[in-house]
Symmetry: C2
Subunit: 171 residues, 2 copies
């Protein structure tokens, strides 16, 4: 089966969530899944659930948490770059049918990792590997190269009413 | 914790997938989850994966499969209406923190179930219950009432190149 490149971007809710759903569906079809989460560093509810499915899903985190309000620092950059190197090896191993690079668009937006290297990953991925890239502000170069691009468009969101992220729903 | 009403609509990929991701995240947070799938009737990969998590996730299907190309018939309608009755009981039991009504917008669009009854479900849900409604063509009344609405906007999709749905990725 040929694998494609999918991008989930935009400001609406559901990008990471959709990639989790993809992982769950792929799990049900006995595929092997690798998830690399950029920027995130805390053990979230999703992490705990994925751990239950660890016979087929491998999850790694390459960040130290949210820097949306602040600017990323040197440590954020080092974690992301180390992650990218690790991801290249995971993909090259050809062990994984589905590879999810969660929040990689944000890591690119903040220049934590070079776009050229991500483009190389896309160009050189094994044919069978389905590659998912999530995060707001996907670069145009990636959108051009991808087979499926969905923009999660925020029509309405209660964040604007000042309600913080809730355990089990957003985090 | 107060539960909200979320809608995932639009023509892009990732609506059902996002709801599956929500279920997985909620599972990781030890919440109890009910998923009612309208229109769908086949054992998909997602169904198999959810079954692995059946200690906290209950899934029911209220359709006999895809009628997107054809029109729905009497049997589709009966299954959807039976489903709606069952869903009311599941929600009223107050056992579930997260209730996903997958493809309910499509069931409404084809008039398989009455909008007034779905509005009643939204109005009368237990306070703690997070209610998710997915499917293209969400009615304006539901969008108005919801707390979060995300439109999955198709920017690019390989369906248009004539590639059918693939096991473990789309089905």
């Amino acid at each position: 089966m040929k694998g494609y490149v999918q991008v989930y971007t935009g400001c609406g809710k559901g990008k990471t969530t959709a990639s989790l759903g993809l992982a769950l569906r792929a799990y049900g079809a006995n595929l092997k899944i690798f998830i690399g989460q950029f920027c995130k560093g805390k053990t979230s509810s999703e992490f705990k659930a994925l751990y239950k499915l660890k016979d087929k899903i491998t999850v790694k985190q390459y960040g130290k948490g949210c820097f949306i309000k602040n600017k990323p620092d040197k440590k954020d950059m080092l974690k992301a770059q180390k992650g990218l190197e690790e991801i290249k090896k995971y993909i090259a191993s050809e062990k994984y049918d589905l590879v999810i690079l969660d929040e990689i668009n944000i890591a690119l937006y903040y220049k934590l990792i070079p776009l050229s290297e991500v483009m190389e990953i896309i160009d050189n991925k094994p044919k069978k590997t389905e590659l998912i890239l999530t995060g707001r502000k996907a670069p145009l170069e990636i959108i051009k190269k991808a087979d499926i691009v969905t923009e999660m468009k925020e029509i309405k969101h209660y964040y604007k009413k000042g309600i913080p992220a809730r355990k089990g729903i957003e985090k």
